[in-house]
């Protein structure tokens, strides 16, 4: 009986921590160099190439390979495949280029900090940039 309880306790601890890990890694923080006030719909338009300017400032969206699945699902509300396909069409129709794709949160943070119009997203709470929203 004692062994069974120990087993259950071990499994419970492992399961609780295992369940917590995906939630911990699933948050997306949309960040910008400047304090932009954008609704989720406007963030979507920026990343789909519908909006390129905030006043006179040219916006520079940047993708994050590590956080892209969560971002496109939560903010753009589409699949990564559809997101990619939408940019194939956008480039052909309007001559626009898809946002540059960075590999990590650190690279995105570096890009956003270095470019006034930059807007990106990371998977952990960032420092030194403006958080447009958490999703």
């Amino acid at each position: 009986m004692r062994k069974l309880l120990t087993l259950l306790r071990s499994l419970a601890v492992a399961a609780l921590i295992g369940a917590a890990l995906p939630a911990w890694s699933g948050d997306v923080y949309v960040i910008a160099n400047l304090p932009l006030e954008l609704t989720p719909e406007e963030v979507k338009e920026v990343f789909l190439g519908e909006v390129q300017f905030a006043g006179a400032l040219k916006l520079q969206p940047v993708d994050n390979a590590g956080a892209q699945p969560d971002f496109v699902a939560k903010v753009l509300k589409m699949s990564s495949t559809k997101y990619s396909a939408s940019w194939t069409k956008k480039a052909f129709r309007d001559g626009l280029n898809a946002p540059p794709l960075k590999a990590t949160d650190a690279e995105v943070l570096g890009f956003v900090k270095a470019n006034p119009g930059a807007i990106g997203y990371v998977s952990s709470p960032p420092a030194g940039v403006h958080v447009v929203g958490k999703f």
């Binding site: 295992g18 390129q52 052909f92």
Partner: protein, 444 residues
């Protein structure tokens, strides 16, 4: 690289290893349960200690990141941030900064943005017109470049290669347009562009892989393939969009070289106009958002005077072409549905036959089944007045109906195989033309 990132990974690895190891220990018949419990408690304490350590490191990292000047000017007390930890954090931040700034690595693009489409296929027909060849064939190879030369300057150059019926390679400068973006509300393009009318002509054009079917609606065929509408324009084009509460209004205004008709086909005069008659046109559309995301609709129109020439380049007729159109399209939730309708009111400027009315349109519906398969159907119909010199002078300016039934398989997000059957009834031709077409198209 970043302690705040790597430490949680170590913690996760520890936890997973622990999760695997703990049940194994418990399953051992000879295991000392008391010892196991002690180990478990030790592990939990270790997790708690690591968590506390992570929080400390994150706080230190935040301080050094947000206030580097303050840190440099007044080093933190030794008790809260030991000198060696601060130095290591500085080193890590410096390394990350160097990696980011020096590489500015872009996984998607390097150098000049070059994209393209290519397709190959098979074609077979029953009751083909004279001169039609069946069999395997190269479709087209379409390159387009989209260099951004600055925050406001955009360029779009598209070069298309195809193979003619007699096997010769043909190259066309499909688009060569240079634009200046004033704002989201106004981009001004100069050069040769796809005439901004309707839906299909703007959305797909030479992009065989993104086009829902093997072929275009016949009424929208390219000019050099016998199309009856001026799908290219060389001139100036202003376009932009304005956000509204439920979507976005899109507009187009353009003017350019007028079209002429030579050798039975439209010629958009890309190298210079044959006369002073310019084409002017407009388009006004609405792209819905929110619950209706994917739905768009609009109207468009153009007006120009078109001169038809004979083989000796002598003018045969002059027609004032007035074309009005409307479209609606829905591309979402697996649906790909669209329709366009055009109405012509063409006036005879060289004879006394008056004004002639004609119409053309199509409806196309496709739906994704099982992620990759898209069966589709399209109906096309054109009723073109044969007393109208504009249509009379064109080889394909006849009324027709066409049914298209096809199946598309998306082998990859960038590759599609399409099999299509169509039946075309051409006015004045006794028998219907039946075709089978297979196309394998990719984008890159």
């Amino acid at each position: 690289m970043n302690p705040a990132c790597t430490t949680p990974r170590r913690l996760a690895a520890l936890v997973i290893a622990f999760g695997i190891a703990a049940p194994a220990l418990a399953q051992s018949a000879n295991a000392d349960t008391a010892q196991l419990e002690r180990r478990l408690e030790q592990s939990v304490r270790m997790i708690e200690a690591l968590t506390t350590r992570i929080e400390q490191l994150e706080k230190q990292l935040a301080v050094t990141t947000t206030k580097p000047a303050a840190v440099a000017a007044a080093p933190a007390p030794a008790a809260s941030a030991p000198r060696d930890v601060t130095a290591r954090l500085d080193e890590v931040e410096k390394t990350v900064g160097q990696l980011t700034s020096s590489s500015s690595r872009d996984l998607r693009d390097s150098g000049l943005p070059l994209h393209g489409f290519a397709d190959v296929g098979l074609h077979a027909s029953h009751n083909p017109p004279p001169g039609r060849r069946d069999g395997f064939a190269i479709g087209s190879l379409d390159f387009y470049l989209t260099p951004e030369l600055g925050p406001n300057v955009r360029t779009l150059v598209e070069l298309n290669f195809g193979v003619s019926g007699n096997g010769e390679t043909e190259a066309d400068l499909e688009r060569a347009q240079i634009g200046y973006v004033f704002s989201d509300q106004l981009t001004l393009w100069l050069g040769r562009f796809h005439s901004p009318f309707g839906y299909w002509n703007m959305a797909f054009h030479h992009g065989a892989q993104i086009q829902p079917s093997v072929g275009r609606p016949r009424m929208l065929d390219f000019e050099d393939d016998g199309g009856i509408m001026p799908v290219h324009t060389t001139g100036v084009w202003g376009t932009g969009s304005v956000r509204m509460s439920g979507g976005r209004i899109v507009y187009h205004l353009y003017a350019g070289n007028g079209t002429r008709i030579a050798n039975g086909a439209l010629d958009p005069n890309p190298g210079g106009d044959d006369n002073g008659n310019k084409v002017v046109g407009f388009g006004l559309g609405y792209r819905f958002g929110g619950a209706l995301d994917g739905l768009s609709a609009g109207i468009n129109g153009l007006r120009q005077t078109v001169v038809a020439y004979d083989a000796a380049d002598q003018a045969l007729s002059r027609t004032r072409l007035v074309m009005l159109g409307a479209y609606a399209a829905y591309d979402n939730d697996g649906w790909e549905a669209m329709g366009e309708a055009y109405r012509f009111r063409n006036a005879d400027m060289s004879g006394g036959s008056g004004t002639h009315g004609s119409s053309a349109g199509y409806v196309h519906v496709g739906h994704t089944v099982g992620e990759r398969w898209v069966p589709y159907y399209r109906f096309e119909k054109a009723s073109l007045d044969q007393a109208d010199n504009y249509f009379l002078a064109q080889a394909n300016g006849r009324s027709y109906t066409r049914h298209v039934l096809g199946l598309r398989y998306n082998a990859d997000p960038r590759a599609a195989v399409k099999l299509e059957l169509n039946r075309t009834r051409d006015e004045g031709v006794a028998r219907a033309l039946d075709e089978l077409r297979l196309q394998y198209a990719v984008s890159f």
